[in-house]
């Protein structure tokens, strides 16, 4: 435990904690909407393509994180373009995902530098967040949170009762477009913490656990954020306390444990 306290004085651990907190709040916020709008595959697709963006960023300017964010915006645009209707969306994400990953591998083969920077994004590298990256994470995180709060109620309406929401004149295309961008940015940011392959453990699992426990949209969001924070920050601290266990493993483990607990606790009621 003394180890843990001394770690917390280190800048790398402080940066990691801040990043983990930020990512948990963002993921907790969007998670319920990902479930309501059945976009789990979009989360998976955009997160894996963060790898391609990172590879392109490295190759072009030596900046993996910036590349991943720009890549996320491109992917959001492509999904919006190809997958207009809900029924077509999953297929078009699959198409984009397959091509994008191939492109990522190609880009990486051209890169002569230290390619761990790009592969890091597959499994997360939370302890490698430097001050410049942290600043970028904070700016994007604030942007996502402000956008989500601004459109919170209309997005609930549009996601759960689309016919009436459209009749009321809510801008449905704008809402789903903006949400897609928010999702892509959040997922890319989360990829930095848990890795693209495990983003769902923060973007879906906490919300899925929360959904077992409540049917009110507001408490769903609050619970989902609390669960994401518990997993993200808790996993990070656990990994610091027990040297040698990767934070990613602890985060996904806690996240899954929360879900299992919620599942078992409500098993009889269902």
């Amino acid at each position: 435990m003394t180890d843990l306290l001394s770690y917390l004085n280190e800048p790398f651990a402080q940066n990691a904690l801040l990043a983990a907190t930020l990512v948990a709040v963002m993921c907790g916020l969007i998670g319920p909407f990902v479930i309501m709008r059945r976009m789990a595959f979009a989360v998976h697709g955009t997160s894996e393509l963060a790898f391609t963006g990172a590879a392109a960023g490295l190759l072009l300017g030596g900046h993996a994180l910036a590349g991943a964010f720009i890549g996320a915006l491109v992917v959001a645009g492509l999904i919006g373009l190809f997958g207009g209707r809900e029924r077509e969306r999953d297929a078009s994400i699959g198409v984009i995902l397959a091509f994008g990953l191939g492109l990522g591998v190609l880009l990486l083969s051209f890169y002569k530098g230290f390619s761990a920077q790009a592969t890091n994004i597959l499994f997360g590298n939370i302890f490698g967040v430097d001050n410049g990256q942290l600043a970028l994470l904070v700016v994007v995180g604030m942007l996502v949170c402000i956008t989500m709060l601004t459109m919170y109620r209309p997005l609930v309406f549009a996601s759960l009762d689309p016919e009436v929401a459209r009749a009321r004149g809510l801008p449905m295309a704008l809402l789903s477009g903006v949400f897609l961008v928010v999702l892509a940015l959040t997922v890319t940011e989360a990829a930095q913490v848990v890795g693209t392959l495990l983003v769902l453990s923060l973007a879906i699992t906490p919300a899925a656990a929360a959904q077992r426990l409540t049917v009110r949209p507001a408490s769903l969001t609050v619970l989902s954020i609390i669960f994401a924070l518990t997993a993200s920050v808790g996993g990070l601290l656990l990994s610091l306390a027990f040297d040698g266990i990767k934070p990613t493993v602890c985060i996904t483990g806690i996240s899954f444990a929360i879900y299992i607990t919620a599942f078992l606790a409500t098993l009889r009621r269902q």
Binding site: P32, M36, L149, T150, M151, Y152, R153, P154, V156, F157, L160, D161, E163, V164, A165, R166, A167, R168, G169, L170, Q211, T214, V215, R216, P217, L220
Partner: protein, 275 residues
């Protein structure tokens, strides 16, 4: 005379190259109950969507509360086609009604006590207080539909648009939902009610808009639902029967029996089964 709630002048709607209705002119007064009838695909739902501004008319003019449709949306209550909610939808009945008040508000803000009062009063009006706090997805079709009515009337709209609100409900629920809509019209709302089955609402209907293959007829049920008028409208022999106060539209020629008549036909059989 009062300003009409809905005014169409020579309006035509074409969708995907097909003319749904042509040169439609009509006025709907406050408190008036208009049933929109016709076979599937004749543009009944599209008529409602035009009043909502979602399908703008191809030619002619459409005014709702004195303005083009998109601007009057906040004064319109809309009950969509009866369709069950997902079992796991994260809403209670009360939340669904509340969306009618706060769902269109931007910038997260806390619900005001006045909003909650309006929601509670709408829920009381439709008699859904007992189950309003339960998960919406676990309620019966009739209970869900009551809450939909509450959501539509919570803003005390001047126009209530209902798209097949009785579909797939049992007969008792049909009667209850129809009565709730009737109550709202007695408070002064004009009602446009799309249905393929007029009998449950026949006693409360002032006028009927009948759409068939681009043609239309409008008038009281007694004027429009006659053998002569509907034969002209369908362009084929159609018979209107009055059986114990129920109106049945059947093709005179059994071989020409088409889908909409079939629906009426089934209903008769169903009724006989019950008695």
């Amino acid at each position: 005379m009062q300003e009409p709630v809905v005014r169409l002048h020579d309006a035509t709607l074409k969708l995907g190259g097909r003319t749904l209705w042509k040169n439609l002119s009509l006025d709907i007064a406050p408190g008036e109950f208009v049933a929109v009838l016709g076979p599937n695909g004749s543009g009944k739902s599209s008529f409602i969507k035009t009043l909502l501004g979602l399908y703008p008319q191809t030619t002619g003019s459409v005014q709702v509360l004195g303005t083009p449709p998109p601007q009057s949306r906040t004064h319109i209550g809309y009950v969509p086609q009866q369709k069950a909610f997902d079992r796991d939808i994260p809403l209670t009945g009360r939340d669904l009604v509340a969306l009618g008040v706060t769902g269109s508000r931007w910038f997260a803000q806390f619900t005001k006590p006045a909003d909650e009062k309006r929601v509670a009063s709408a829920i009381t009006q439709v008699g859904a207080t007992r189950y309003a706090s339960k998960p919406l997805g676990r309620l019966s079709g009739g209970e869900q539909q009551r809450l939909r009515i509450a959501q539509a009337i919570v803003g005390n709209p001047q126009l209530l648009l209902c798209d097949e609100p009785l579909l797939s409900l049992d007969l008792a629920s049909q009667q209850q939902i129809a009565t709730l809509i009737h109550a709202q019209r007695q408070k002064g709302s004009a009602v446009v009610f799309v249905t393929h089955e007029i009998n449950p609402i026949l006693p409360m209907v002032d006028r009927v808009l009948y759409l068939v293959g681009g043609r239309w007829a409008m008038g009281t049920p007694a004027e429009v639902l006659t053998t002569e008028r509907l034969t002209m409208l369908y362009g084929m022999p159609v018979e209107v029967l009055n059986v114990h106060g129920r109106i049945l539209v059947v093709a005179s020629n059994e071989h020409a029996l088409t889908e909409p008549h079939d629906a009426h036909h089934h209903h008769v059989i169903h009724e006989e089964d019950r008695s």
